[in-house]
């Protein structure tokens, strides 16, 4: 028995496909993409008329909070949210408890996702043991266990020699270093973007330099070592410029931007909105424009959510004490699709930034519908409008600045290895 997805507009940027075609799935893999397939009697047919059929989306920056913080999210609820957002593969950050700095945790994550989850989980392990910044993890061992990259995300690796040697060592195993580039000493306790609004609200500002200075250092260390540096969640104009210039010089650097950093400005914080408190902070309108320009000219490789679930008890308090972070898996696609309406990216480019391009960053064998590939697919209704409410969100947490906002565009069906993991048609 095969599954045939009929009459959808198939977009696979990696293969330059954009046409109304049928996708044939056999034994969990893509068998063919052709026109007008005649189904056999026992084939399952999914009518995708009027829908986009894309590679299952890939998010290379999520926090699943499992193990340790299951009251915020776990691998089951997090991958359920991923599937609802159209993502079939997520790379999860290691700031769990205990942190993912060893093979046992890495395997636990992969296996729990395989047994009980709704999407593929590709763990990112910490650069340093316990994310303490002073000694390397067993990178070779972790790569064998299924780890796809190394990051102390949430924390900067302040010690320059530590980061240099991590890059050298990771380079030897052909693995990327994924940097949360933010100089803590320049950040100096900042809780929002530094500017007139932080002055007005009486909140300590985090200037753009905290990020850009660290990005500059990290780029030069990548230049020195020849390692692949991937810069997480860039937020400032200067970061885009630095990465653009580094790419032109041939430095192996890639980067990602979150939907919130290309959608919202610091104004979202007004009223001390804790759900707009995030690191790096929401920046100025000029920075948001620079994010769009970086996406447009290809400086920014991928859209990644930095999905950071937090329980209401970690958020419902005075702004300066509230946790940093916001969920993003279920709002990423409609926010990215706004870029098409705004003329920043074509539809094909948006899909690429959410599928093959992030997969390429971490060299994950996903994000395209080539023959023989895992049948990870997302069916998208571009006209589907919906409201962001507690009821409409699958994540265990609901810390989103988009609460009560209308979204246009939705993954109405998600298949992972040929199996329907999300369906709302």
């Amino acid at each position: 028995m095969k599954t045939i997805i009929k009459n959808g507009r198939v977009i696979d940027p990696a293969q330059n496909i954009d046409a109304v075609l049928d996708v044939v799935i056999n034994a969990g893999c893509i068998e063919s993409i052709t026109a007008q397939v005649q189904p056999a009697a026992d084939d399952q047919v999914i009518d995708a008329t009027g829908l986009l059929v894309t590679p299952g989306l890939v998010d290379i920056h999520v926090h699943l909070r499992d193990p340790g913080y299951e009251y915020k999210e776990d691998i089951i609820s997090g991958t359920r949210a991923a599937a609802a957002g159209g993502f079939t593969s997520v790379a999860c950050m290691p700031n769990t408890n205990p942190s993912n700095d060893n093979k046992a945790i890495t395997r636990y994550m992969i296996q729990k996702a395989q047994l009980e989850g709704y999407a593929n989980v590709f763990p990112i392990c910490s650069i340093t043991k316990g994310q303490k910044g002073d000694s390397l993890v067993e990178m070779g061992d972790l790569k064998q266990a299924g780890c796809v990259g190394f990051s102390d995300d949430g924390l900067n690796v302040e010690d320059g020699a530590m980061l240099r040697h991590a890059m050298e060592y990771a380079q030897g195993f052909d693995m990327p270093i994924i940097a949360h580039s933010e100089d803590e000493s320049i950040k100096d306790g900042g809780v929002m973007n530094e500017g007139a609004l932080s002055t007005e609200l009486g909140l300590t500002g985090n200037p753009w330099v905290s990020e850009a200075a660290s990005v500059a250092r990290d780029i030069m260390l990548a230049e020195l070592t020849g390692a692949h540096l991937h810069v997480c969640h860039i937020s400032t104009r200067r970061s885009v410029e630095l990465i653009r210039e580094a790419k032109q010089r041939g430095v192996r650097v890639t980067c990602e931007v979150t939907p919130h950093h290309f959608t919202l400005t610091e104004e979202a914080v007004r009223g001390y909105n804790v759900n707009a408190k995030v690191g790096p902070p929401l920046r100025s309108a000029a920075d948001v424009a620079a994010m769009k320009e970086g996406l447009r000219d290809g400086t920014i490789d991928a859209i990644a959510t930095d999905h950071a679930p937090h329980h209401i008890d970690d958020k419902n308090m005075e702004f300066i004490y509230a946790a940093f972070g916001m969920i993003g898996l279920e709002t990423a696609l409609p926010l990215a699709l706004r870029l098409v309406d705004e003329g920043v990216l074509s539809l094909n480019e948006v899909i690429a930034c959410l599928s093959c391009k992030p997969a390429n960053v971490l060299r994950i064998p996903r994000g395209t519908l080539t023959t023989g590939a895992a049948a990870d697919l997302t069916l998208i209704d571009l006209e589907y409008t919906w409201e962001v409410t507690r009821q409409s969100i699958r994540s265990r947490s609901f810390n989103t600045p988009f609460e009560d906002q209308n979204m246009k565009g939705k993954a109405v069906m998600t298949l992972c290895a040929g199996k329907v993991v999300h369906k709302e048609i």
């Binding site: 530094e194 007139a196 007005e200 909140l203 009223g271 419902n316 308090m317 300066i320 004490y321």
Partner: protein
Amino acid sequence: MAFAHKHIISTKVLTRAEIDLILTTAQSFKEINQRDIKKVPTLRGKSIINLFYENSTRTRTSFELAGKRMSADTINISAASSSVTKGETLEDTAKNIEAMDADIIVIRHPASGAPDYLAQRLSRCSVINAGDGAHEHPSQALLDLMTIKEHKGTLEGLTVAIVGDIARSRVARSDLYALRTMGATVRLAGPATMLPPGLDKLGAQVYTDINAAIKDADVIIMLRIQLEREGGSKLLPTKREYAQFFALNPENLKLAKPDAIVMHPGPLNRGVEISSYVADGKQNVILEQVENGVAVRMALLYLLAGGNDD
């Protein structure tokens, strides 16, 4: 006119008419404070909770006296630490107070935005901000305006210089908005490390030279400088240098208008931001500020808790 606000959290939202109403009301209450028997029954039966998460002598005493002189029941709660370390959330604390049918919560808190947070979550209580982090301190600004108006007759067209650690000053922000609304020009001055970005966008003129800032000023407000360690910090080298370049002394005071008044929200660091000769000099109105503070706070309590009765 009826007072349209349920809470007093910021001076930014107050109109000129509203500030005039507060100052006029305060002026009428000031007379009560000068009587032998300083008590009227205006707020009898009203409950006012002073919820202070930061140490304060002046402001808390002022609010307490304001309530008591109008016959309200006032209770002081001093939280030794923030809600986070105390183990109960600020929301829970405040809702418990509200459940006891308090009418007004006066809150001082080290976290900017804490009064906004309460106002968003309480259904019946009014909230008065008695200082939140580096955000605002509206009652201080209003008593400053009252004092200036008593001396100058008007606020329109005056030049007011505020000198000190602007970055961490909630007084500077509340003064700035209220003075601008009333038609004054506001100059903010201090070491560049203590001038946060965007002050110009908030309506201020910005100076790093105290002499330029106070030149021809009608009013000079000196702010307390907080230098924890004598050896200096990332923001300031020494108190000595601060006193040398940013203090108000009898010499540079001559740059201001001859009839300029000198103010300070207290407590004073004599010899640091202000010379004792100026602090005790004939142009100082610092204790008048304190006196007016009680009257302004009576006005605020009255307008929130009883002002709509007649």
